[in-house]
């Protein structure tokens, strides 16, 4: 038997089920997508490009995981699952601020078992040094006094009693899923 060529389309069918093939391009997903209204994000186009074996160079990180697209899809295509597949794939490479965001967050969880908000935010803001990010950081500095005055952020991490157990889970996930994390 001839081996099926491992295009992105075939890979996604293999990993997320064949649901994507049911897309008939109606656009309800794009019409329901909140970020599509305020950016150039478009789930319909992403699904279409995959099905037509075109290169998907869209910014999948603009998906906010609201699950409205799949809830309303008349054919039940699990679009968020497909977008998550693309996100996990993007995480394997050096990437933009979204990759840094996720890595900084999970590093904190792996280290302490819980999110250390102050540490995570500081790391993310320091490592993300685009002009957009610097502008954002300057804007957000105005929020810092509020956080401090209201005692809304802890200075020190909460650590679980057995952080090694969590490190082991991360290690096993890397092995079993064969991913960088």
């Amino acid at each position: 038997m001839k081996k099926r060529k491992m295009t992105l389309k075939n890979k996604i069918i293999e990993e997320t089920g064949g649901g994507i093939l049911k897309c008939f391009n109606c656009g309800i997903c794009a019409g329901s997508c909140p970020t599509a209204r305020v950016s150039n994000h478009n789930p319909r186009k992403i699904i279409r490009k995959i099905l037509l074996n075109r290169e998907v160079n869209d910014d999948v990180w603009l998906c906010a995981n609201c699950f409205m697209c799949s809830a309303r899809c008349p054919n039940g295509v699990d679009i968020p699952k497909i977008i998550d597949y693309l996100k996990v794939k993007a995480m394997q490479k050096r990437g933009n601020h979204n990759v840094i965001f996720n890595k900084s967050f999970l590093r904190s969880v792996e280290m302490f078992g819980r999110l250390y908000e102050a540490g995570f935010l500081a790391e993310f803001k320091m490592r993300d040094i685009s002009i957009r990010a610097v502008k954002g950081a300057i804007n957000d500095i105005s929020l810092v006094p509020h956080f401090l005055l209201k005692g809304k952020i802890g200075f020190f991490p909460h650590k679980v009693k057995n952080p090694d157990e969590i490190k082991k889970i991360f290690k096993k996930v890397r092995e079993v899923e064969k991913i960088k994390l």
């Binding site: 603009l62 995981n65 409205m68 809830a71 996100k87 996990v88 999970l106 819980r114 969590i166």
Partner: protein, 294 residues
């Protein structure tokens, strides 16, 4: 007799949204329900978890659920929407996909126990249980005067509907029922279950600011005095970022955003400090004094 319900606060409720955690704990205390916290709980991984790995979020959730089972917990109260969603997803995946189950069992080094499936419950559903709702009605101490609210549920309380076990994913009514019992008028509006941008608030702030502008504008135009929420991220985006949204779009909202647990706590006579209402960015005290809740 039923055990004390379990309680999973999660990272937000012990950190930047501690007033949601505190008000939940105080409310349950006032209702005479003892919450049993999961010992040494770990983070659910939230959005970065499922964007980085297909197995990690389920593994972290099952780790917590396995600890809960050890404590004899049958029902788990999970106020944070992200954690609530991740727990529901983990149960959904592990009970439907044998391939995933096998991998998760390998990662965690233990068999998944089907027999004692834990009931993952959000306070919105829990407080609506007849016995508790009646207890709330019986213990009302303060009746607000002509207070109008819009209820904002956000995304994952109802979606994906098949995972969350919901049929009417665009029109949930749990908060309306609770506020109705508390004598607060609720107003129909368009943004009940529309997205606030969630974690994009940190990584792509401008998008969250634009989405929240629409939500705040609709609430205001419907004549609401406040927005009631049940998710820490919705609260951060609508309350903490409200000033930034006003500046960016040259608008004025000044609309207080309160957690449902704070609102119910107030009518039951709990103090503003106990409920952490003084921790919000948009000051609610003027409104609450005017409406005789404070």
């Amino acid at each position: 007799m039923e055990n004390n319900p379990g309680y999973y606060p999660g990272c937000s409720l012990t950190g930047s949204s501690r007033e949601y955690g505190k008000s939940t704990e105080k409310l349950y205390e006032a209702l005479g329900i003892t919450l049993q916290e999961i010992e040494d709980w770990v983070c659910c991984g939230a959005t970065p978890g499922h964007s980085s790995s297909h197995l990690l979020p389920d593994a972290l959730a099952l780790k917590n659920l396995s600890q809960a089972k050890k404590q004899g917990i049958e029902k788990l109260i999970t106020p944070c929407m992200a954690c609530y969603s991740r727990f529901k997803f983990a149960q959904y995946n592990v009970s439907r996909d044998p391939g995933i189950r096998e991998k998760l069992e390998e990662i965690l080094g233990e068999k998944y126990d089907d027999e004692n499936e834990i009931d993952i419950v959000h306070p919105l559903d829990n407080l609506n249980e007849l016995v508790i709702l009646n207890k709330i009605k019986k213990n009302i101490k303060k009746i607000p005067e002509d207070l109008k609210a819009v209820c904002y549920y956000g995304c994952v309380f109802t979606r994906p509907p098949e995972v969350m076990g919901v049929s009417d994913y665009e029109n949930p009514c749990q908060m309306e029922r609770l506020l109705d019992a508390a004598g607060i008028e609720t107003v129909e509006w368009n943004y009940k279950t529309k997205c606030c941008g969630a974690a994009l608030s940190i990584s792509n702030t401008e998008i969250a600011l634009d989405l929240c502008k629409e939500i705040l504008s609709d609430a205001k135009s419907r004549g609401a005095d406040m927005i009631v929420v049940a998710c820490p991220l919705c609260h951060v985006n609508l309350d903490l970022r409200q000033g930034q949204i006003e500046r960016k779009h040259n608008l004025k909202f000044k609309i207080p955003v309160l957690y449902i647990t704070q609102v119910i706590g107030l009518v039951l006579g709990l103090s503003v400090e106990d409920l952490g209402i003084d921790k919000h960015f948009v000051d609610a005290s003027k409104l609450l004094k005017e409406k005789r809740l404070m």
